[in-house]
């Protein structure tokens, strides 16, 4: 099923021609209207006419998250104030937020991409989507909301949290799909288990769009088992519209990124140099159709690679591999580079491990991983728990090359955040 079959299955040659045409227009637009980019071009001795092929994109300046903060509130706006239709912000953990503007057309295009993603996962009229993301300044809920309405779904704007209310809505209105974060999906699965509710028999859920935090294949399986749904990995970032940038098709093998809207590059995170397809590096995106706030070569800080092979689903837009981490998530512990997703992958593959965990760093590089037990896995013997503790320690050590201290706690005792999960606590006094 396609939302826009012509665009989604366009031949590579045509798609690249379209990209080049749109890239040139975007470059001209920011050069003429955005002082920040005009100055960057001047520093690089670059003129819009120098961009004559897609390969020339690498000559364009990179834009960083710090640039977006410095240009807050309106520095990157490329349209008149009267053409602005919506403002979102993306808050960092520190400092100023990023102001993200949409024109009326931008709002519609973001919804259009979202619609492609939803139909790609098999949703259509008659579907009922419970949108459990935070409504407000965050793009996550609203962009999904508009896309879902476009597709013809009934949208329940439940927002996050309050599991009791979420469950009631699902029961009363027959929700068929949910949109949430992996941490809340796991928490909710736990909640159902505690309530003794079998979602397969008592709820109508079929699909879950799970994103906004990176997660592993093992976590996907836990969510699918816990909620009785198909989980579709969903990627987006507020700087690039929010959700709908790249989603999975029914193959569930890589996320199609909409290349008629985004120019995709993978670069070496240390040097910023482009890497060939298949190699892992930082995802860099250029908006090709944005009016209000075009962004050139945005460093997403997300680590992934491009799957160059054609997809059996027929879509010609290339796929991204699952995001394996963020460049700014990387922890350096006793000289080893560790991504929290490595730890997650190990934990979620052990059946006796539950759905939540916390990584704590303190003192001089002491790493403690606190793990919730799976409710069903507790055998009532302390020896079994000690064996499990040893197993987790050994497996983690093999994966991350650092021996962590592993602590076991009862299911449901670690704090759960309703927005993005905070799984890493770094209190090191280094």
């Amino acid at each position: 099923m396609f939302w826009d079959q012509e665009a989604e299955t366009m031949g590579r040659g045509g798609l690249e021609q379209l990209q080049l045409r749109r890239l040139k227009a975007t470059v001209r637009r920011v050069y003429e209207r955005v002082p920040f980019y005009r100055q960057k071009f001047a520093e690089a001795g670059l003129q819009p006419r120098h961009i004559t092929s897609l390969a020339d994109a690498r000559r364009l300046p990179l834009t960083t998250s710090a640039d977006l903060r410095e240009q807050y509130p309106r520095g990157l706006v490329a349209v008149d104030a009267t053409e602005l239709a919506r403002l979102h912000t993306s808050s960092g953990t520190t400092g100023k937020p990023k102001g993200l503007f949409f024109s009326r057309k931008d709002v519609d295009r973001a919804a259009e991409l979202m619609a492609r993603c939803l139909v790609m996962a098999g949703l259509g009229p008659g579907g009922i989507l419970q949108n459990m993301m935070t409504y407000g300044m965050f793009t996550g809920a609203l962009v999904m909301h508009y896309g879902a309405e476009k597709v013809g779904l009934l949208v329940i704007p439940s927002g996050p949290g309050n599991s009791e209310k979420q469950l009631l809505l699902m029961q009363d209105f027959g929700t068929t799909a949910i949109h949430t974060t992996p941490s809340y999906a796991l928490y909710f699965a736990d909640y159902l288990e505690k309530k003794g509710i079998d979602p397969r028999r008592e709820l109508s859920l079929r699909q879950g769009f799970i994103g906004a935090e990176p997660y592993s294949e093992e976590t996907r399986r836990k969510i699918e088992q816990g909620l009785g749904i198909d989980v579709y990995n969903s990627y987006g970032l507020s700087e690039m519209n929010g959700p709908g940038v790249a989603f999975e098709c029914a193959e569930k093998h890589g996320l199609h990124i909409w290349e008629d809207f985004f120019l995709v590059e993978i670069v070496d995170p240390r040097t910023g140099e482009p890497l060939p397809d298949g190699e892992r590096g930082e995802l860099v995106l250029t908006t090709l159709c944005r009016e209000a706030m075009p962004i050139l070569r945005y460093r997403t800080r997300d680590i992934t690679s491009i799957l160059p092979q054609p997809c059996p689903c027929g879509r010609t837009h290339r796929r991204l591999n699952r995001i394996t981490g963020r460049t700014d998530d990387m922890l350096i512990v006793r000289g080893s580079n560790i991504y929290p997703q490595q730890i997650e992958r190990v934990l979620m593959d052990i059946p006796a491990v539950g759905r939540n965990y916390v990584i704590l760093l303190e003192g001089l590089d002491e790493l403690t991983v606190t793990v919730e037990l799976a409710g069903a896995g507790f055998g009532g013997q302390v020896e079994k728990l000690v064996r499990l503790q040893t197993e987790i320690t050994d497996k983690l050590r093999a994966e991350i090359m650092v021996k962590p201290k592993v602590e076991l706690v009862a299911a449901g005792t670690l704090p759960v955040s309703e927005g993005k999960a905070r799984r890493v606590i770094d209190k090191r006094s280094l």
């Binding site: 037990l373 507790f378 009532g380 013997q381 302390v382 000690v386 602590e407 076991l408």
Partner: protein, 142 residues
Amino acid sequence: MSEVKLVAIFAENKTGQLAAITQALAQAGVNIRWVAIASSEAFGVVKVLVNEPDPACEVLRAKGFMFSLLEVLAIAVEDQPGGLDAVVKTLARNKINLRNASGFVAHGRAVLLIEVESAAKARRILAKKQLHILTQEEVMEF
């Protein structure tokens, strides 16, 4: 005749954890006949023998504790020299490993509680030796 079940509850080694368990059981009107705690560094397992396992499980579930029910063999032995020895020898001869064992004496009679890998096999063997294996109801009458 019902088998004797222990309720084994997971607890972190933190102040107040045991109190939270005993308080929950007390509020549910559950009488603890016997208790044992096995602990590792940061966590442990509290095992209790209670007069009524069902309401105990109900209150523990409601309060969010993790627990399991473990089958245990409760054997009545003479409160005199050689009482325990007879049981242990029988098990050893039949290559049955004891996971845990403990006991209590009440009203001049002794009860031995043992956890083994294969409860059914141990039950058969001990019964043949004329040892009396108590039911849940009998244990409570002690």
